[in-house]
């Protein structure tokens, strides 16, 4: 063995090692069960933030629209409908937030007030709920599930349903049958485990009813409160 041999040997070992990178255990998606508290929707300097909803007209896109303008919106740009949390503080993952019975006033105003405070949309209050049976299709659905993998969020909110003018509109992603029709896009988002701040978005195309082929773009933002349900603290 000469003087170069240890060096060559080390280089060979390194080269071989490089062919087998360390197999660190892959990060698995973790269910986040608790309350996704809503920051109130806001519109400032031409930008929307917090929790809001936009309705995309048939054939439109999230980026360019066209969007349905809600005359009752508090935002300067009426295509944004700003939302406020309901008595539960926001959306629960891991549990249902059933609508009340009755779910509508005789004039069609939605009465659900757990996820969000009922808000005027085209003159009639709409609201949100999640339940074991999807009100629009009658299908059985699971609880809303949000998962975090690192800082990325995914989820399944197939039971997420809007109520307006005595009509139910499923706004889940995927849909109760598990599909992603039309413009429907999966739940995605970001999450900071340290501050617990999150942003979740998805698109859900309306299937059937007077707004058939319109799509709802949902932007939820706020803080996650793990393991806690009930009224916002």
């Amino acid at each position: 063995m000469n003087r170069r041999t240890p060096g060559l040997l080390a280089a060979a070992i390194l080269a071989i090692a490089a062919l087998f990178p360390a197999v660190a255990p892959a990060a698995t998606a973790k269910k986040l069960n608790g309350t996704f508290l809503f920051s109130p929707g806001k519109f400032k300097k031409g930008k929307a933030g917090g929790t809001y909803f936009r309705m995309i007209q048939p054939g439109g896109t999230v980026k360019r629209g066209p969007f349905f303008a809600n005359p009752n919106s508090r935002a300067k740009d009426k295509t944004y409908t700003l939302l406020k949390a309901g008595i539960d503080g926001g959306l629960w993952s891991g549990r249902f937030q059933d609508p009340p019975d009755p779910a509508f006033a005789p004039n069609g105003f939605a009465l659900a007030n757990r996820i969000m405070t009922p808000t005027l949309f085209a003159g009639i209050r709409f609201s949100l709920s999640t339940a074991a049976t999807d009100a629009q299709s009658g299908r059985k659905v699971g609880v809303p599930v949000i998962r975090a993998k690192g800082r990325k969020l995914t989820g399944d909110v197939r039971g997420f349903t809007a109520s307006w003018n005595s009509i139910w509109f499923n706004q889940g992603a995927p849909k109760p049958a598990g599909n992603l029709p039309g413009r429907t896009r999966k739940v995605s988002g970001t999450y900071d485990p340290r501050t617990r701040r999150y942003t979740i978005t998805w698109v859900s195309q309306i299937v059937g009813g007077p707004f058939n082929d319109f799509s709802g773009y949902w932007h939820l933002q706020g803080k996650f409160r793990p393991g806690k349900y009930g009224k916002a603290g």
Binding site: Q57, P58, F68, A69, N70, P71, N72, K78, D101, P102, A103, F104, A105, P106, N107, G108, F109, A122, G123, I124, N165, S166, I167, G208, G209, P210, F211, N212, D213, F214
Partner: protein, 819 residues
């Protein structure tokens, strides 16, 4: 008799049957009978009624349900499930629970109206008399009013005196709102009941200041949909109507002979009441609506029923017909419909009709009104108008029209259904089958007089030997039909076999037709579409939509004219004012620019719907689309069987098979006449063609977009225009005076949305269903899909003929058949 004569007799008989069936009228169930049916269906085995259907019996719910039954001419003692207890039994069992003025009043009303012994119910009239102090009346005017009805129903001198005294006390018990309510807080239900009680006792009429103020209160409580809210203190825009208040208001108006209360938009109280009737069940609840899934309330439905049916308190007495369940058990009486779970004075299918249990006609929610406003009397009322009808005419003379009935949800179980539950096609089917059977027997009997053939083994001998237990019946049937062991057409096979092969082909073609045109998939979609369109094809509904469009149009005109004048004053010209206005109010400008096109779209849409209303009615009255494929498959299968049997059995059984084939062929020929397809099918075809332009995805999307345009324009009223006008110093009153259409659209927007969005939803949801119907063969062709095969089958059966008898001496009937 010649063979051809026999065939003509059969054909004539079938034609007669068809004419009888074709003339049968059809009705739809009215708001009243649907509500009454809901109540009757809600009864439990213990005789009581729950607050909602399926819930355990509740004393108060049973009280109100019993009142409603009496209002419909049904005695609570006669209402019970089989092996169950009656409503009367339940009330007796629970009599100690009724202690309030209102409950005792209702109990007294039931006891006296139903002619029950007072002691059975613990003398409610007597108990009431002791409870009706000044203080009690003043603090519970609603209960006191119900007590008045109970006392008046007792119809004794002392009860009448007490009722009068209570009425006088009520006149002194007005609240600060100049109405009536518990503990000084006025509410609509109390006010309406007190007004009715005052009129019933004669204590006060239309001229009395208290009555006028009470009516003013109810007018103030009337919401945009015509219903009456629970109180004037509630926000009418959000709280919605109250069923009890609305129903009692209707009764009060009738009793007083007062004009109908209407909103500024022309909605009547009756129209308001119908908004809370669930289309599917006929029940009502203040928390529900026509399409709402909220379970209706038995109490509210029972409170609404007398109002729907034109009845006021007290009610006419109704004697028990069955004597109750114990009597029925003793006597073994079954009730009118042995197959039902109910024992009722009428049939279970009738339920509680809107007139009385024996009535077959149901003219609608108001007995005096008609769908065409002709003033034709309701049936079951005899030759003269009843007091209720006279009072009804007084209540809004000219305001109650036939359109009121149509305005509410049409609760027809099926278009073309009668109140006995049988649809036209069911009755037609039953009569047709019965007629065919009779004619078959008639023809066969006539055949008996012909010389019978000899030889050959009998057709039914094997059957007879196998059914020894019913042999006498079979022999009788065989003798009547001509198919007997000694008289069967044995030895007389078809003269020609090829017509039977052709008949096989005809049958096969009939079976194949539904598959070839995709009927099994498309016809049910057509049925769904017909059902979904039903609410929107009513004249009153179309008028509502036309009015909505007019409201928007009038606003658009103000937005181009008066609004710019008011918001851009000082402009040199109207055009300058408009330009300035458009700059400052961009959303409104966008709306007014787009409105003419939107207006045209809606006018075209509503015009097409209106023009095809009759065509829709015709299609809806046809047999259910779901059954259509079977109307071909079943006869086709029978033809194949008959032809095949004729080919195989021939010698053994050709004559009876031939008769059956001819009868079936005649039935097919007559079926279009029986189902009135000659009139209805072309109308259906016209409707399908007309809807081609509106039931398309692009049209629906255009309408959705137009709806967004209207929303923008309307939304600007509240958030932009009114604030701008107020900033210029105009008061609410002045704005209303200057811009009535703008204010009207603001105030009517929610009911407009309530109407429009479901309609857009139905249009959108039925695009595929429409395509399925449009892909079927033209409707008029269906007539010939019956007639042509029918004629072919008859002709081929006749052509097939029978071979002549062998050349032997004729066998006289008295001679034994040689073996």
């Amino acid at each position: 008799m010649r063979r051809t004569s026999v065939l003509w007799i059969r054909a004539a008989g079938l034609a007669l049957v068809a004419l009888l069936v074709a003339g049968a009228p059809a009705h739809a169930r009215s708001n009243a009978s649907a509500a009454a049916g809901f109540i009757e269906d809600a009864q439990n085995k213990d005789g009581g009624f729950g607050v909602r259907k399926g819930e355990p019996s509740d004393p108060r719910a049973t009280l109100w349900a019993s009142v409603a039954l009496l209002a419909a001419g049904k005695n609570p003692r006669d209402e019970f499930l089989k092996n169950g207890r009656s409503a009367d039994d339940y009330l007796v069992d629970n009599r100690s629970k009724f202690t309030s003025l209102g409950d005792l009043g209702l109990l007294a009303l039931i006891q006296t109206t139903g002619r029950f012994g007072p002691s059975l119910y613990d003398n409610p009239v007597q108990r009431l008399t002791g409870e009706l102090t000044r203080g009690a009346v003043g603090s519970d005017p609603q209960g006191a009013a119900l007590a008045v009805f109970g006392l008046l129903a007792a119809d004794t001198a002392s009860a009448r005196r007490t009722a009068g005294s209570v009425a006088e006390t009520l006149l002194d018990s007005l609240t600060s709102d100049n109405a009536w309510g518990p503990r000084g807080n006025a509410d609509s239900a109390s006010t309406a009941l007190v007004l009715q009680a005052l009129a019933a006792t004669g204590a006060a009429g239309m001229g009395h200041p208290a009555v006028r103020s009470g009516l003013a209160y109810l007018q103030a409580a009337q919401s945009n949909d015509g219903s009456i809210t629970a109180s004037t203190r509630l926000d009418k825009a959000t709280s919605g109507g109250d069923v009890a208040a609305t129903a009692f208001t209707l009764q009060a108006l009738r009793k007083l002979g007062a004009p109908m209360l209407k909103t500024s938009g022309g909605k009547t109280v009756t129209q308001g009441l119908t908004q809370y009737q669930q289309q599917s069940s006929g029940g009502l609840t203040s928390k529900g609506s026509i399409y709402s899934p909220v379970p209706p309330s038995v109490i509210e439905t029972a409170q609404a029923y007398p109002a729907f049916n034109g009845k006021t308190f007290p009610l006419a007495r109704v004697a028990s017909k069955t004597g109750g369940p114990d009597n029925v058990k003793r006597t073994g009486a079954q009730g009118a419909d042995p197959s039902s779970d109910r024992v009722s004075a009428g049939t279970a299918d009738q339920g509680v009709s809107s007139t009385h249990s024996e009535a077959t006609a149901d003219p609608g929610a108001f007995q005096g009104a008609t769908a065409d406003g002709s003033g034709r009397r309701g049936s079951g009322e005899g030759s003269g108008r009843s007091a209720a009808q006279e009072a009804l005419q007084g209540a809004g003379r000219g305001a109650v029209s036939g359109t009121v009935v149509g305005t509410g949800p049409r609760l027809a179980a099926k278009a073309g259904a009668s109140d006995d539950g049988l649809t036209n096609e069911q009755r037609a089917t039953i009569l047709l089958c019965g007629g065919l059977t009779l004619l078959f027997a008639l023809g066969a009997t006539l055949e008996r007089v012909r010389p019978s053939p000899s030889g050959a083994p009998p057709l039914v001998a094997a059957g007879q030997s196998a059914t020894a237990a019913v042999a006498p019946l079979v022999r009788f049937g065989g003798a009547v039909s001509g198919i007997s062991t000694s008289r069967a057409g044995l030895g007389r096979p078809p003269r020609r076999r090829w017509p039977l092969l052709a008949m096989l082909a005809v049958g096969g073609a009939l079976i194949a037709l539904p598959f070839a045109v995709g009927m099994f998939d498309r016809a049910p979609k057509g049925a769904e579409m017909i059902k979904a369109f039903e609410p929107y094809m009513q004249a009153a509904k179309i008028e509502d939509f036309e009015r909505h469009v007019r409201d928007v149009d009038e606003y658009a005109q103000e937005a181009r004219g008066r609004l710019p004048e008011l918001l851009a004053p000082g402009a040199k010209s109207p055009e300058t004012a408009r330009r300035r206005f458009d700059r400052q109010h961009g959303q409104v400008a966008l709306f007014t620019q787009q409105w003419p096109d939107v207006h045209r779209t809606f006018d075209d849409l509503l015009g097409t719907i209106r023009a095809n209303r009759e065509n829709y009615e015709a299609v809806a009255a046809l047999p259910s689309f779901r059954a259509f494929p079977w109307f071909f498959v079943i006869p086709g299968g029978l033809i194949v069987l008959l032809a095949g049997a004729g080919l195989v059995l021939g010698r053994s059984a050709w004559i009876p098979l031939r008769r059956a084939a001819i009868a079936l062929g005649v039935g097919l020929v007559l079926a279009p006449a029986v189902f009135q397809m000659f009139d209805r099918a072309p109308k259906g075809g016209r409707m399908v063609t007309a809807f081609e332009t509106i039931e398309t995805r692009p049209t629906v999307q255009k309408i959705q977009g137009d709806f967004a345009t209207i929303t923008i324009g309307q939304g600007a009223i509240g958030i932009d225009l009114i604030p701008a006008l107020e900033a210029r110093g105009l008061s609410e009153k002045e704005i209303g005076r200057e811009l009535p259409a703008t204010v009207r659209l603001r105030d009517r927007w929610i009911p407009i949305l309530n109407d429009m969005t479901p309609m857009i939803g139905v249009m959108s949801d039925n695009v595929e269903n429409y395509r399925a119907v449009a892909a079927l063969p033209d409707f008029p062709l269906f007539i010939w899909f019956f007639v042509v095969p029918g004629l072919l089958v008859v002709g081929l059966a006749v052509l097939a003929g029978t071979r002549p008898l062998p050349a032997t001496a004729p066998v006289r009937a008295s001679e034994p058949v040689p073996t």
